[in-house]
């Protein structure tokens, strides 16, 4: 079946089983690298993308159910919040292996769009569904706060 999608403003028609997880279509048909396979069960957050303004875990979200515009980290240059996060993650060197980071940046964008100066507990609560194994969490928190400050000036 042909599924129509809008990914970062680009329209995409893919002949695919509608039960296919959105993740595989993004990675293999839409040239998206940022959303990563981590667990396939919505437990780690590394596949997070935006569906309109909501976070979805694309590893367990059927592509046939997508009704809206998909947005990923690849569109960072045209999104002020993602751009601020991109700069802040570099400034704080808030990455080790980095596999989990794009998912966290997507989650942080939604947080910052609602609250430009989140507290540490608010950031932690927002990222509770995201795993980082390298132990970079303390820097990730700082990067999100830095991006918020950058956006508020």
């Amino acid at each position: 079946m042909i599924v129509n999608l809008s990914v970062n403003g680009q329209v995409l028609n893919v002949d695919v089983d509608p039960s296919t997880p959105l993740l595989y279509v993004l990675r293999n048909d839409a040239s998206i690298n940022s959303a990563k396979y981590g667990c396939g069960a919505g437990q780690c957050g590394s596949c997070a993308v935006l569906l309109d303004d909501k976070v979805v875990l694309s590893c367990s979200y059927p592509v046939g159910s997508v009704n809206g515009n998909v947005k990923t980290l690849e569109s960072y240059a045209s999104d002020p919040t993602l751009l601020a996060l991109n700069k802040a993650f570099i400034a704080e060197q808030a990455v080790q292996c980095g596999y989990c980071i794009p998912g966290m940046m997507i989650r942080a964008k939604v947080l910052l769009d609602k609250n430009i100066s989140p507290s540490v507990p608010q950031i932690k609560a927002s990222l509770q569904g995201h795993l980082c194994r390298c132990g970079t969490q303390t820097r990730i928190i700082k990067a999100i706060q830095r991006a918020g400050k950058e956006l508020s000036v």
Binding site: D17, R27, N86, Q93, V95, C100, Q137
Partner: protein
């Protein structure tokens, strides 16, 4: 050692980079009997042009055998070369570690990349600089002492100029590195917190990982592993899967089973259906539980060694303390399951993988496939975090077994979550017994440390045996390499088992088990994590028994000034007060603990202090603060160093509070993150790290320095809070509750 022809190497660089570089192999020099030992990785890779090429176009090509996995080594190595060559870092092109092209630096492990690879590149760059300076002096007809270098431009005091780019030619670096040129004493890029070069792609959706590779015509594969180790296929029905959309082929060799499809989700679905259509004969040879394994470990056949023996006159013993400590199997649990891309073309295999050792991997691939080494090209491409040996080597063989059956087709294979959890080699379970004696004044006069463990390295690349998972399941199966320990002073299971403290009498006995029912290999720190946990716990118990402050008690037994300094430094950072008292806050039991280790007794010095809060009702421990002071000698990149120490502290918090691989006789019981919980954001401590830079000391490996002391400081803080020590890892809620019950009883 050397299998490749010069032409193979030249050809590869041309095709991948559009560069034409000549290479020389190590000359007959190596076959001579008396060859001077050279620093670090130079010893096995002696030619200057196996490390550095200076191009007429102003680029500097750097080859390294140590690979990036987010620890920042690529950037650090670039800083070293730029500093010694006096060039801007932006001129450097780093070549991904590739067999046949890159220097063979073995495995990227043990926090050795700076100590071995960094020092090799530093001497190589120093030689390159001197060779070009000599040439410039000849050409400009001025003494070297009158020449200055600025970003590769060479100027004489009288105003004559030339440059590296004008002076370079292919033959110039076809000579062994002398390692005799004086290294620069004042630094430009060394010591700077330069931003890592691998980060921009990772935070912008760039192609940064082997998982992101896309080759035209690429097919997707998945493996179907047995339900438990050593199970064998008894029957297989491929018909239902072969009818599925997109399925290209089912591949079976003995009990190795895989499926290939046009699309990734088709391969994933086919794997599920294939699982339903294969019957396995189970070996049922796993221990029934971790406690059952612990009960038998001391009776198992073992290779026994005694190390660190000291026998000296001492004051009479006033008191003896004895304790047994245990550590469970722990998983690497990288966020992204292992992945490789392989392609068989013109009789040669190329495989891209995130393994920590391209050459050792190739050694075992040669054994498995029977191909000559030059027909197997292993190329490093970053994956998810490497904390030792996860599935990265195994997935490379899996992908190759599939690619070999489908010539010319690029095959991308990513393991599923349960593949990684069930089949990665874990960090070994360990038992440690310590007996220690105090004299009347509270000095330690005798110390005995005895440990039981499986090996901590079953990596590929051994002379005999084959350590790649799939090789054991083939129609013609291979056997794993014989068990061996990494020798002291670095040690494997006995890593950090010899205390850095000075005691008059001391003995360490290591029992390395032969029997390995649960597959284990290197996990960050190897045995050091558990040994430091045990030693530092015992040090606190002894300080308590002697009624002495834990920091002062440690200082009293330490003679190494740098060790003493990290301890006093962290005490100052955390505002440590003599004899910290446990207290209650909002119904929580609060405590504080300290610990210290010099990793491997060879690398970074780290002292840590932990603050914890324990909920007596639920038994849950929260680590509120972790402080660390670290001395890694001459610091290459201070922020990169801090990032490693910080990450290690958070990772060890997870290991220490939560982690244990569950298993029973039927198999490993982990399919997902719910069955192997790791630390989540809400429980991440505040982390404070300060580093002590020592310009005149050699650079030390830092990547594994904080896990051992981080764990021990948490354990000591918990003991302080509860008034009762927990001797078994992880420090789980049930153990906290049991300790509290015991504490109440004895009160």
């Amino acid at each position: 050692m050397i299998h490749h022809s010069e032409t193979t190497r030249r050809h590869f660089l041309k095709s991948s980079l559009g560069l034409a570089i000549g290479f020389t192999w190590v000359p007959s020099l190596l076959s001579q009997t008396s060859v001077d030992s050279l620093p670090g990785s130079l010893n096995n890779n002696r030619m200057l042009d196996s490390w550095i090429h200076i191009q007429p176009d102003g680029k500097v090509i750097v080859l390294a055998g140590k690979v990036e996995f987010g620890q920042g080594i690529t950037t650090a190595l670039m800083q070293i070369v730029a500093d010694e060559l006096q060039i801007n870092m932006s001129r450097i092109v780093m070549i991904p570690t590739t067999t046949g092209i890159s220097p063979n630096e073995g495995v990227t492990s043990g926090s050795q990349s700076i100590e071995y690879g960094g020092i090799a590149l530093r001497y190589a760059a120093a030689d390159a600089r001197e060779i070009l300076l000599e040439r410039a002096a000849g050409q400009l007809n001025v003494p070297i002492s009158e020449l200055k270098i600025e970003d590769g431009e060479i100027k004489s005091s009288s105003g004559k100029t030339t440059s590296y780019w004008a002076l370079t030619n292919q033959e110039l670096f076809q000579r062994p590195v002398s390692a005799k040129v004086a290294l620069k004493k004042s630094h430009t890029t060394i010591g700077q917190s330069i931003e890592r070069v691998d980060i921009p792609a990772k935070v912008s959706g760039g192609s940064a990982y082997v998982q992101d590779m896309k080759i035209p015509g690429m097919l997707h594969a998945r493996v179907i592993r047995p339900p438990a180790p050593r199970a064998a296929i008894v029957s297989l029905n491929t018909a239902p899967v072969e009818k599925m959309p997109g399925v290209v082929v089912v591949i079976r060799d003995g009990s190795f089973l895989a499926v290939v499809a046009q699309r990734e989700e088709q391969a994933v679905r086919a794997r599920e259906v294939l699982k339903q259509n294969v019957q396995w004969q189970l070996a049922k040879d796993l221990p029934t539980s971790l406690s059952a394994w612990f009960r038998t470990m001391k009776q198992k056949r073992s290779i026994d060694t005694t190390i660190g023996v000291k026998q000296n006159a001492a004051k009479p013993i006033a008191r003896v303390l004895s304790a047994q400590f245990t550590k469970p199997f722990v998983a690497h649990a990288s966020i992204g399951p292992s992945c490789a891309v392989a392609q068989m073309k013109d009789g040669a295999i190329t495989v891209w993988t995130h393994s920590q050792g391209m050459y050792p991997l190739r050694t075992d691939l040669v054994k498995t496939l029977g191909f000559p080494a030059e027909k197997i090209i292993c190329v490093h491409k970053e994956g998810s975090g490497m904390y030792g040996q996860n599935g990265a080597d195994d997935v490379a063989l899996d992908a190759i077994l599939i690619a070999k059956a489908l010539p010319n087709k690029p095959i991308r294979l990513q393991w599923m979550r349960d593949d990684e959890f069930k089949w990665e080699p874990y960090g070994s379970a360990m038992i440690i017994n310590i007996d220690a004696a105090l004299d009347q004044e509270g000095n330690i006069v005798d110390w005995k440390h005895e440990l039981w463990s499986n090996t901590h390295s079953t990596r590929p690349g051994e002379p005999t045996g084959n350590n790649l998972l799939a090789s054991w399941y083939l129609e013609k199966p291979f056997k794993p390499s014989p068990v061996k320990n990494i020798p002291q002073p670095a040690g494997g299971s006995d890593r950090n088992a010899v205390p850095l403290y000075v005691f008059p009498n001391q003995k360490v006995e290591n029992h390395l088990l032969d029997d390995m029912p649960i597959r284990v290999s290197a996990l960050r720190t190897l045995g050091a994590y558990a040994n430091v946990f045990a030693i530092e716990s015992m040090m606190d118990d002894l300080a308590n028994a002697a009624k002495q402050d834990p920091v002062q008690f440690r200082l009293k037994h330490l003679q190494d000034d740098r060790a003493r300094e990290v301890l006093t430094h962290v005490a100052k950072m955390a505002d440590w007060k003599q004899m910290p008292k446990a207290y209650r806050k909002n119904g929580k039991l609060c405590g504080r603990g300290v610990a210290f280790a010099k990793y491997k007794n060879l690398s970074v010095y780290v002292a840590t202090i932990a603050d914890v809060e324990v909920d007596p009702k639920t038994g849950k421990i929260t680590v509120s603060n972790l402080y660390a002071a670290a001395d890694g000698g001459l610091t290459i990149n201070p922020d990169g160093f801090k990032n490693q120490i910080e990450g290690g502290l958070v990772q060890t918090t997870s290991w220490t509070l939560l982690e244990e691989v569950p298993f029973n006789q039927d198999g490993i019981e982990i399919n997902n993150w719910a069955e192997y919980p790791v630390l989540r954001f809400a429980d991440v401590p505040n982390v404070y790290v300060e580093i002590i830079n020592r310009e005149n000391q050699k650079s030390l490996g830092v990547g594994e320095g904080s896990q051992g002391p981080g764990c021990a400081a948490i354990a000591n803080a918990v003991a302080n809070a509860l008034g009762q020590r927990i001797y078994d890892l992880p420090l789980s809620p049930n153990r906290v509750k049991a300790a509290l019950a015991q504490s109440r009883q004895s009160a």
